[in-house]
Protein backbone atom coordinates (compact mmCIF):
# COMPACT_ATOMS: atom_id res chain seq x y z
CA UNK A 1 0.00 0.00 0.00
CA UNK A 2 1.04 3.60 -0.31
CA UNK A 3 0.73 4.20 3.41
CA UNK A 4 3.90 5.37 5.09
CA UNK A 5 5.33 3.62 8.10
CA UNK A 6 7.26 5.59 10.66
CA UNK A 7 10.17 4.32 12.67
CA UNK A 8 10.68 4.33 15.58
CA UNK A 9 7.21 4.21 17.12
CA UNK A 10 8.47 6.17 20.10
CA UNK A 11 11.56 8.26 20.75
CA UNK A 12 12.70 9.88 23.98
CA UNK A 13 15.60 12.38 24.05
CA UNK A 14 17.00 15.17 26.17
CA UNK A 15 16.48 18.80 25.32
CA UNK A 16 19.20 20.04 22.98
CA UNK A 17 19.72 16.68 21.29
CA UNK A 18 18.75 15.95 17.71
CA UNK A 19 15.76 13.75 16.89
CA UNK A 20 15.60 11.63 13.76
CA UNK A 21 12.46 9.90 12.55
CA UNK A 22 12.16 7.72 9.49
CA UNK A 23 9.35 6.93 7.09
CA UNK A 24 9.16 4.12 4.56
CA UNK A 25 6.54 3.58 1.89
CA UNK A 26 5.81 1.01 -0.79
CA UNK A 27 4.62 2.62 -4.01
CA UNK A 28 5.73 5.55 -6.15
CA UNK A 29 4.75 8.97 -4.88
CA UNK A 30 4.46 12.55 -6.04
CA UNK A 31 5.28 14.10 -2.72
CA UNK A 32 5.83 13.28 0.91
CA UNK A 33 4.78 15.49 3.79
CA UNK A 34 5.48 15.57 7.50
CA UNK A 35 2.85 16.63 10.01
CA UNK A 36 2.95 17.20 13.73
CA UNK A 37 0.20 16.50 16.25
CA UNK A 38 0.16 17.76 19.79
CA UNK A 39 -1.65 15.50 22.21
CA UNK A 40 -5.37 15.33 21.46
CA UNK A 41 -5.26 17.97 18.75
CA UNK A 42 -5.41 18.16 14.97
CA UNK A 43 -2.41 17.77 12.70
CA UNK A 44 -0.27 20.68 11.59
CA UNK A 45 1.68 20.63 8.35
CA UNK A 46 5.46 20.95 8.79
CA UNK A 47 7.11 20.44 5.45
CA UNK A 48 6.55 18.99 1.98
CA UNK A 49 9.18 17.42 -0.22
CA UNK A 50 8.50 16.56 -3.84
CA UNK A 51 9.63 13.34 -5.49
CA UNK A 52 12.27 15.19 -7.54
CA UNK A 53 13.82 16.75 -4.43
CA UNK A 54 16.34 15.09 -2.17
CA UNK A 55 16.58 17.43 0.79
CA UNK A 56 14.67 20.33 2.25
CA UNK A 57 15.13 22.61 5.24
CA UNK A 58 12.75 24.66 7.30
CA UNK A 59 14.12 26.26 10.46
CA UNK A 60 15.31 23.42 12.70
CA UNK A 61 13.75 20.81 10.44
CA UNK A 62 15.62 18.89 7.77
CA UNK A 63 13.85 16.38 5.55
CA UNK A 64 15.48 13.97 3.15
CA UNK A 65 13.87 11.78 0.53
CA UNK A 66 15.38 8.74 -1.15
CA UNK A 67 12.96 7.52 -3.79
CA UNK A 68 15.19 4.58 -4.71
CA UNK A 69 14.82 3.27 -1.17
CA UNK A 70 11.29 4.61 -0.78
CA UNK A 71 12.19 6.29 2.46
CA UNK A 72 12.33 9.70 4.09
CA UNK A 73 13.76 11.05 7.30
CA UNK A 74 12.84 14.03 9.45
CA UNK A 75 15.59 15.55 11.57
CA UNK A 76 14.78 18.04 14.31
CA UNK A 77 17.93 19.75 15.51
CA UNK A 78 18.50 21.24 18.96
CA UNK A 79 15.22 19.84 20.24
CA UNK A 80 13.09 21.65 22.79
CA UNK A 81 10.52 20.41 25.27
CA UNK A 82 7.90 22.09 23.08
CA UNK A 83 8.79 19.68 20.25
CA UNK A 84 7.14 16.89 22.24
CA UNK A 85 4.41 15.62 19.93
CA UNK A 86 3.58 12.86 17.46
CA UNK A 87 5.02 13.15 13.98
CA UNK A 88 3.40 11.63 10.90
CA UNK A 89 4.57 11.19 7.36
CA UNK A 90 2.00 11.30 4.58
CA UNK A 91 2.53 10.21 1.01
CA UNK A 92 0.48 11.02 -2.04
CA UNK A 93 0.53 10.47 -5.75
CA UNK A 94 -2.48 12.56 -6.70
CA UNK A 95 -4.87 15.05 -5.24
CA UNK A 96 -7.00 12.99 -2.95
CA UNK A 97 -5.00 9.91 -2.12
CA UNK A 98 -2.86 11.09 0.79
CA UNK A 99 -2.12 8.33 3.24
CA UNK A 100 -0.69 8.69 6.71
CA UNK A 101 1.46 6.38 8.76
CA UNK A 102 0.93 5.46 12.39
CA UNK A 103 3.35 8.12 13.63
CA UNK A 104 6.37 8.50 15.88
CA UNK A 105 5.75 9.72 19.41
CA UNK A 106 8.61 12.09 20.36
CA UNK A 107 9.24 13.05 23.98
CA UNK A 108 11.81 15.74 24.69
CA UNK A 109 12.80 15.88 28.34
CA UNK A 110 13.79 19.25 29.77
Amino acid sequence: SQQGEEDPQALSIQEGENATMNCSYKTSINNLQWYRQNSGRGLVHLILIRSNEREKHSGRLRVTLDTSKKSSSLLITASRAADTASYFCATSKNNNDMRFGAGTRLTVKP
Binding site: Q3, N30, N31, Q33, Y35, G40, R41, G42, L43, V44, H45, L48, R50, S51, F88, A90, S92, N94, N95, N96, M98, R99, F100, G101, A102, G103
Partner: protein
Protein backbone atom coordinates in the same frame (compact mmCIF):
# COMPACT_ATOMS: atom_id res chain seq x y z
CA UNK B 1 -5.00 31.88 8.54
CA UNK B 2 -6.86 28.82 7.39
CA UNK B 3 -9.39 27.74 9.91
CA UNK B 4 -11.07 24.37 10.06
CA UNK B 5 -13.58 23.96 12.84
CA UNK B 6 -15.38 20.90 14.09
CA UNK B 7 -18.69 21.09 15.90
CA UNK B 8 -17.67 19.27 19.06
CA UNK B 9 -14.41 18.42 20.82
CA UNK B 10 -15.97 15.61 22.83
CA UNK B 11 -19.11 13.63 22.16
CA UNK B 12 -20.71 10.70 23.96
CA UNK B 13 -23.45 8.73 22.22
CA UNK B 14 -25.27 5.47 22.75
CA UNK B 15 -25.21 2.44 20.50
CA UNK B 16 -27.74 2.76 17.70
CA UNK B 17 -27.96 6.54 17.78
CA UNK B 18 -27.55 8.58 14.63
CA UNK B 19 -24.53 10.85 14.98
CA UNK B 20 -23.64 13.95 13.00
CA UNK B 21 -20.13 15.38 12.99
CA UNK B 22 -19.85 18.78 11.35
CA UNK B 23 -16.81 20.40 9.79
CA UNK B 24 -16.51 23.92 8.42
CA UNK B 25 -13.57 25.55 6.63
CA UNK B 26 -13.19 29.21 5.78
CA UNK B 27 -10.58 29.11 3.01
CA UNK B 28 -12.78 28.27 0.05
CA UNK B 29 -11.01 24.93 -0.35
CA UNK B 30 -12.40 22.51 -2.90
CA UNK B 31 -11.32 19.33 -1.10
CA UNK B 32 -12.49 18.12 2.28
CA UNK B 33 -11.69 14.91 4.12
CA UNK B 34 -12.80 12.85 7.09
CA UNK B 35 -10.35 10.60 8.93
CA UNK B 36 -10.51 8.51 12.04
CA UNK B 37 -7.46 8.09 14.22
CA UNK B 38 -6.89 5.09 16.46
CA UNK B 39 -3.78 4.19 18.49
CA UNK B 40 -1.25 2.27 16.45
CA UNK B 41 -3.23 2.68 13.23
CA UNK B 42 -2.54 6.30 12.37
CA UNK B 43 -5.09 8.20 10.33
CA UNK B 44 -7.42 6.27 8.09
CA UNK B 45 -9.43 7.99 5.40
CA UNK B 46 -13.19 7.49 5.66
CA UNK B 47 -14.56 9.74 2.91
CA UNK B 48 -13.48 12.75 0.94
CA UNK B 49 -15.15 15.31 -1.29
CA UNK B 50 -13.62 17.35 -4.08
CA UNK B 51 -16.65 19.49 -4.81
CA UNK B 52 -20.10 20.34 -3.56
CA UNK B 53 -22.41 17.32 -3.65
CA UNK B 54 -19.49 15.10 -4.67
CA UNK B 55 -18.12 12.36 -2.45
CA UNK B 56 -15.69 9.51 -2.74
CA UNK B 57 -15.12 6.54 -0.45
CA UNK B 58 -11.85 6.30 1.34
CA UNK B 59 -10.33 3.20 2.89
CA UNK B 60 -12.92 2.55 5.61
CA UNK B 61 -16.34 3.93 4.55
CA UNK B 62 -18.45 1.14 6.06
CA UNK B 63 -20.88 2.42 8.67
CA UNK B 64 -20.45 6.04 7.60
CA UNK B 65 -21.97 8.45 5.12
CA UNK B 66 -21.22 12.06 4.28
CA UNK B 67 -22.94 15.16 3.04
CA UNK B 68 -21.56 18.23 1.31
CA UNK B 69 -24.35 20.63 0.44
CA UNK B 70 -22.17 23.74 0.67
CA UNK B 71 -18.53 24.20 -0.24
CA UNK B 72 -17.47 25.17 3.27
CA UNK B 73 -19.23 22.37 5.13
CA UNK B 74 -18.63 18.63 5.17
CA UNK B 75 -20.65 16.41 7.47
CA UNK B 76 -19.88 12.88 8.62
CA UNK B 77 -22.88 10.76 9.57
CA UNK B 78 -22.90 7.58 11.60
CA UNK B 79 -26.27 6.10 10.71
CA UNK B 80 -26.34 3.74 13.69
CA UNK B 81 -23.41 4.24 16.02
CA UNK B 82 -21.58 1.19 17.29
CA UNK B 83 -18.92 0.79 19.99
CA UNK B 84 -16.23 0.07 17.39
CA UNK B 85 -16.75 3.59 16.06
CA UNK B 86 -15.38 5.04 19.28
CA UNK B 87 -12.44 7.05 17.98
CA UNK B 88 -10.92 10.46 17.29
CA UNK B 89 -12.41 11.97 14.12
CA UNK B 90 -10.40 14.51 12.20
CA UNK B 91 -11.62 16.74 9.40
CA UNK B 92 -9.26 18.35 6.90
CA UNK B 93 -9.43 20.56 3.84
CA UNK B 94 -7.07 21.36 1.00
CA UNK B 95 -7.06 23.51 -2.13
CA UNK B 96 -7.26 22.11 -5.62
CA UNK B 97 -4.35 19.89 -6.53
CA UNK B 98 -1.56 21.88 -8.12
CA UNK B 99 -0.08 19.34 -10.44
CA UNK B 100 2.90 21.49 -11.40
CA UNK B 101 3.83 22.13 -7.81
CA UNK B 102 2.70 18.74 -6.54
CA UNK B 103 1.25 20.65 -3.64
CA UNK B 104 -1.65 19.36 -1.57
CA UNK B 105 -1.11 20.36 2.04
CA UNK B 106 -4.08 19.53 4.22
CA UNK B 107 -5.37 21.77 7.00
CA UNK B 108 -6.86 19.97 9.96
CA UNK B 109 -9.52 20.75 12.49
CA UNK B 110 -8.93 20.10 16.22
CA UNK B 111 -10.70 16.74 16.15
CA UNK B 112 -13.79 15.27 17.78
CA UNK B 113 -13.30 12.50 20.30
CA UNK B 114 -16.38 10.32 20.00
CA UNK B 115 -17.27 7.70 22.58
CA UNK B 116 -20.07 5.25 21.80
CA UNK B 117 -21.42 3.46 24.85
Amino acid sequence: DVKVTQSSRYLVKRTGEKVFLECVQDMDHENMFWYRQDPGLGLRLIYFSYDVKMKEKGDIPEGYSVSREKKERFSLILESASTNQTSMYLCASSPTWDRDQAYNEQFFGPGTRLTVL
